[in-house]
Subunit: 138 residues, 2 copies
DNA sequence: TGACAAACGCAACTCTGTTGCGTTAAGGTG
DNA sequence: CACCTTAACGCAACAGAGTTGCGTTTGTCA
């Protein structure tokens, strides 16, 4: 998995630096959106203390490259996740803050068609987040 | 419309100050989410130059009172809209930045039931935004 | 192994939003 | 209508996320 991504990065002209590799390891094993703060702390656990500027620039670069995706939840916290996980939606537990993924694309396509017919609005992308209580917190 | 809201505010113990009244006039006539910056500029057009602290506190207070709702789109910009418009979703044009509303609650209820059955996640709230091109920008 | 540009670190900065505190004024009471 | 209480307000200082400029380091390719 990681080697596949590394290869894709190389093909896109990215250099494989220790930080970049570690960053992808974290994003891949995390499997759910992670904040800049979370990334920096995960990197610290690997013994790396990169400057925050580096992280921000890295995320911006990888985002324009299409390798990662920015997700916005309530309040502040911008979060990032790997795009290779495919498009999906999030279940955010308002109690323990864990995030689960859900997939239900076919249904959403229906919506988008309906909206285009009704309002002539051409949709390219959407973001859908659910807030509630996870199994454990109910 | 505005008088109805004013009455509801009074009933909830809010005082009716010039700024607060103007704020609701703006939110009502806007009919779509508006940013803090947008609010301050709209107030300026009415000849009011309130301190930004006032606006932030006002929005926080009205939010906990349930009179307004915070909406998060891509990137930064927190936006606010009146709750009396009812729950709905947004069509954000990525070219001209205009925002339209869509309503399709029944369908979403179906989703939430499906998710509960499948994943035992109890949903209380969701946010759904579509990004694309509006009729004019296509 | 040397050259070049991408990647990096550092410091200073910008922008959004917050906090503390003293002042003003909305609205209820006599 | 005058008075009183406290919500609402303004100001200044602050906090945190993210950005910019610039000089240095390092990955990669010839």
């Amino acid at each position: 998995m990681i080697e596949k991504v590394i290869k894709a990065l190389k093909n896109s002209g990215y250099r494989i630096t220790p930080i970049r590799r570690a960053l992808f390891e974290i994003l891949i094993t995390s499997k759910k959106p992670i904040s800049v703060d979370g990334l920096i702390r995960s990197l610290a656990k690997k013994g790396m203390k990169p400057n925050k500027t580096t992280i921000y620039r890295e995320l911006a670069s990888l985002k324009t490259g299409g390798f990662i995706k920015e997700v916005q939840f309530k309040s502040d916290c911008r979060m990032y996740e790997i795009t290779s996980l495919g498009h999906h939606h999030h279940l955010v537990c308002t109690k323990c803050n864990t995030i689960e993924d859900v997939r239900m694309e076919n249904d959403m396509k229906q919506y988008e068609k309906k909206i285009y017919k009704k309002m002539a609005f051409k949709i390219f992308e959407h973001s859908l987040e659910f807030f509630g209580l996870c199994r454990k917190c109910q």
